[in-house]
Symmetry: C2
Subunit: 135 residues, 2 copies
DNA sequence: TTGTTAGTTTGTAATGATTACAAGTTTATT
DNA sequence: AATAAACTTGTAATCATTACAAACTAACAA
């Protein structure tokens, strides 16, 4: 996704497409590892020396509110971020700490009658295929 | 559940059944509201003046490790605790902040082939029935 | 163009949940 | 009773996140 298209998408959602915001989203789009605020900040800093950690926080909150991205509290401690806001599950390997995406079926998310679901998080932790074979 | 039976269960799992630990578990057993560390601490303090917040943390970690309870990171910020370790979903009402339990079906937890699931968390947030009707 | 205003960025300081640690206490075992 | 291991407690540190205020930037009107 080009920076121009990212900027257009932000404008469409009523967000000012500042250089910093575009950079954060571009980073998330290109790094599907569900990075933390700190990883994003540290990786973007070399190319944007004036970058502030607070800007990363502000941007992520704005993007999440507008629905462009999704936050994952799959680990206690730090938040992770995902450029894909569509419904899918997340698997955290307790050995290598990798977070994997996986598809979920519609019936997975059946809430009780009368309840209105706004956001669904399916977090599973365990051993991933790689680690299971290596250990 | 009596304190004696709680103590027996702890011993069975290789945990020392101290008065403090039994109190924490007894509290969780009787309060199915998924309380936070601070709520547990504040509520138990009047009857146990020497109680320490650190003991609540230590106890909850020990109980979780042994499988007697479950921790929920359904809200960023504070951890919630649940006396029921069996698989079930949690619904957080974004209006009244109540956390509801709900049943989940077996197919909800289908991880990719080769992956080994150790823990499953299904968190849904939205408006609960009560709040939807009142608003 | 210039001025005005609202929105954004940035750095620093505060907050608040959690963990680290060490000294004291309790429990299980001999 | 003696000993060692486990547990409790209070205090101090840690660390992600938020609050805040000043500087900056973009949009828009006169």
């Amino acid at each position: 996704m080009t920076r121009t298209r990212i900027a257009e998408e932000m404008s469409r959602l009523g967000l000012r497409a500042t250089a910093q915001r575009v950079s954060v989203y571009e980073y998330l789009w290109n790094h599907r590892t569900h990075p933390t605020v700190d990883t994003i900040y540290e990786d973007l800093l070399p190319d944007n020396p004036s970058f502030s950690r607070t800007t990363v926080y502000n941007t992520l909150h704005a993007l999440e509110k507008s629905g462009m991205i999704r936050s994952l509290s799959i680990e206690s401690g730090e938040m992770h971020y995902d450029a894909d806001p569509a419904d899918h599950g997340h698997f955290l390997c307790t050995h290598c700490r990798t977070i994997y995406d996986f598809p979920i079926s519609a019936e997975s998310v059946a809430v009780p009658h009368g309840f209105e679901s706004e956001q669904t998080d399916i977090f599973i932790s365990g051993k991933c295929k790689n680690c299971k074979e290596k250990i």
